[in-house]
Amino acid sequence: MTPSKEFLENLKQAPRHVRESMLRNGKTPDTDRERSQSTFHNFFLHLQSVRVHRHSLSFGYTFGLGLILTASFVVLTLTGILLMVYYKPGVEQAYDSVKDIHYVVPAGRFIRNIHRWSAHLMVLAVFLHMARVFYTGSYKRPREFNWLVGLGLLVLTLGLSFTGYLLPWDQLAYWAVTIGSNIANSPREVTDAIGITAWFDPGRFQKQLLLGANYVGQEALIRFYVLHVAVLPLALTALMGVHFWRVRKDGGLSRDESRPAPPARIGEREVEVFAPSKTYGLMAVVRGRTPIVGRAPEGTVPSWPNLMWAEMAALMFTIAVTLALSYFFDAPLKEMANPAIPENPAKAPWYFLGLQELVSYSAFMGGVGVPAIVLMGLGLIPYLDRDPRGVGVWFGGAAGRKTFWQSLAFGLASVLALLAFTVNLGWLRTWFPTIPQIAIILLNPATVIVALYSAWSLWVLRRTASIRLSALALFTCFLAGFVVLTAMGSIFRGPNWQFYWWPSQWPIH
């Protein structure tokens, strides 16, 4: 073959060779040997484990929430980058640029709607995912640390939502962030009450770090922008990597290991899968057995394509839901920010309205104290409840289900009773106008509800002698409280944060 003929032949074959080099195997596998080849040569399986438990794919166990979260983050990243093409983070231009995106940019309104709706979906899914992991006991050994990573992801998700809220620079944004930054300032309430603000003022420090000034202005906007488009997404991506890696290394999704698993399958065939029986050193460094040796891959199916289908389904579901919502409901854009006139009522996004209800009793307790207590309590759960039983079973069985319903009833009843009391009769300052602030910081509906829930949890602990059930009681109570307070803040609070049964009863102003 002459060099010129070889050159032409190679040129002709180039598309095929590119395709072959990309897929490494060059074609879809047909035999067991080729399947194993694709396993070793596949980027998808570099990220995922080779085999996945059938249980992990069961929809009623996970509801695909983790996958929905990942998918909505992908959607948010893509639409966010598109919005960055037109958005201008300056107080003079921000509002107009968002208006342009909404009314002028081709498909701009749709992209902005998708960004907004997938953000809401992500926050909703992050709460549901946490509840799923909790109620199936999936935080237990060896997954304790991944529960903490998950809490970090929850905080970052909320941080992303909050920082994104300021960027349109409309009335909604301006006043929500004014309130938010003053919540960061609220440790002042305590330092003022005990008279040490002159020497020790963490509130002012936090507020200035967040805003770069004493007011919400250009410095705050650019800081929120940097946090929203760079710092928090990078941190979230890094933590997500750790989260996924730990899911794999901790043995995949949790399941009830006491139950015998069905045999492994490939396609419709039940197969004997090669199970390593040999003991070999870990990376030729450590004596002893590798983590998976001796555990046969029973009940598993190949990740490719079974897991891939599940992941595609979650992605398609997420996209379908956000597209449908974005088509029918527009993201709001109010008048341009006006520091002289607040919105009345000035409401944060729905997932912060439970907190806003709490800060309407005490800024520090509602905005800093109670959230810190709740986060610490959530973080401690896997280290206090070390009972290995009940992993992978919803509510850990019949006793857990019973405790769940009882705690749900108690949690709902007590928070509703407390709210009814507060709305009708007021609180300490209504009865004793001159009462010192420190008394209200310590004793207000927010702290009362925390105390009631803790007491209930301790009572369950005494009655059942089970830390798991007591944790379940506490978690359920807080979930009930969160839902009721969020509904209260979103639906039943009107102008001047007064109670109304319906928004149609709001006075005209």
């Binding site: 006043w175 004014t178 309130i179 930054s181 003053n182 919540i183 609220s186 309430e189 003022d192 009450a193 420090f205 200035q208 770090l209 770069g212 000034a213 004493n214 007011y215 202005g217 250009q218 410095e219 800081r223 520091p339 002289a340 006139i341 607040p342 919105e343 009345n344 009522p345 000035a346 806003q356 800060v359 309407s360 009793y361 005490s362 800024a363 007021g426 300052r429 209504t430 106008p433 602030q437 209200i440 910081i441 102008p495 001047n496 944060w497 007064q498």
Partner: protein, 151 residues
């Protein structure tokens, strides 16, 4: 001395901890950047014109300054309209006092808290007469409650 650490171990540990110290110092230096040394913001001094243009009993809202100016028999006083709870702008209703739209704090006519979550009274602001004879409110300086300014 059999218990003393080996020279190699000592040097290794010293190197490790000096690296940690260097990284920590560098990180602290870098993290100093976001804490502002200068707090940007508008000048919070407001000239309101000739004192005689305010009739006795008049209440004037200054939106840009975030305060209400009251002219009474005893003199002038200015009360901040920024809620001490979470920074919303309170509205003044004559005879009743101030009400915050965000979380329902209530203040009496002299700014003291009478209801809601506000932790402190609305501050009274300093009033002076500027060299050109205008009434001037220094919105960053507070004065004790009850301080009246007489022209």
């Amino acid at each position: 001395m059999p218990d003393s650490p080996k020279r190699r171990d000592f040097l290794g540990l010293a190197a490790l901890w000096s690296a940690v110290a260097a990284m920590g110092t560098a990180l602290a230096g870098v993290m100093r950047l976001p804490k502002p040394a200068v707090l940007p913001g508008p000048l919070r001094v407001f000239k309101l014109g000739d004192p005689s243009q305010f009739a006795v009993g008049s209440i004037t809202r200054n939106e840009a300054g975030g305060f209400y100016l009251f002219r009474e028999e005893q003199g002038f006083h200015a009360i901040s309209s920024t809620c001490t709870h979470l920074g919303c702008v309170v509205a003044h209703n004559e005879g009743e006092g101030f009400a915050c739209p965000c979380h329902g704090s209530r203040f009496s006519t002299d700014g003291s808290v009478v209801g809601g979550p506000a932790p402190a009274a609305l501050p009274w602001l300093e009033i002076v007469v500027s060299p050109d004879g205008q009434l001037q409110v220094n919105a960053e300086s507070q004065v004790p409650k009850g301080t009246r300014f007489r022209v």
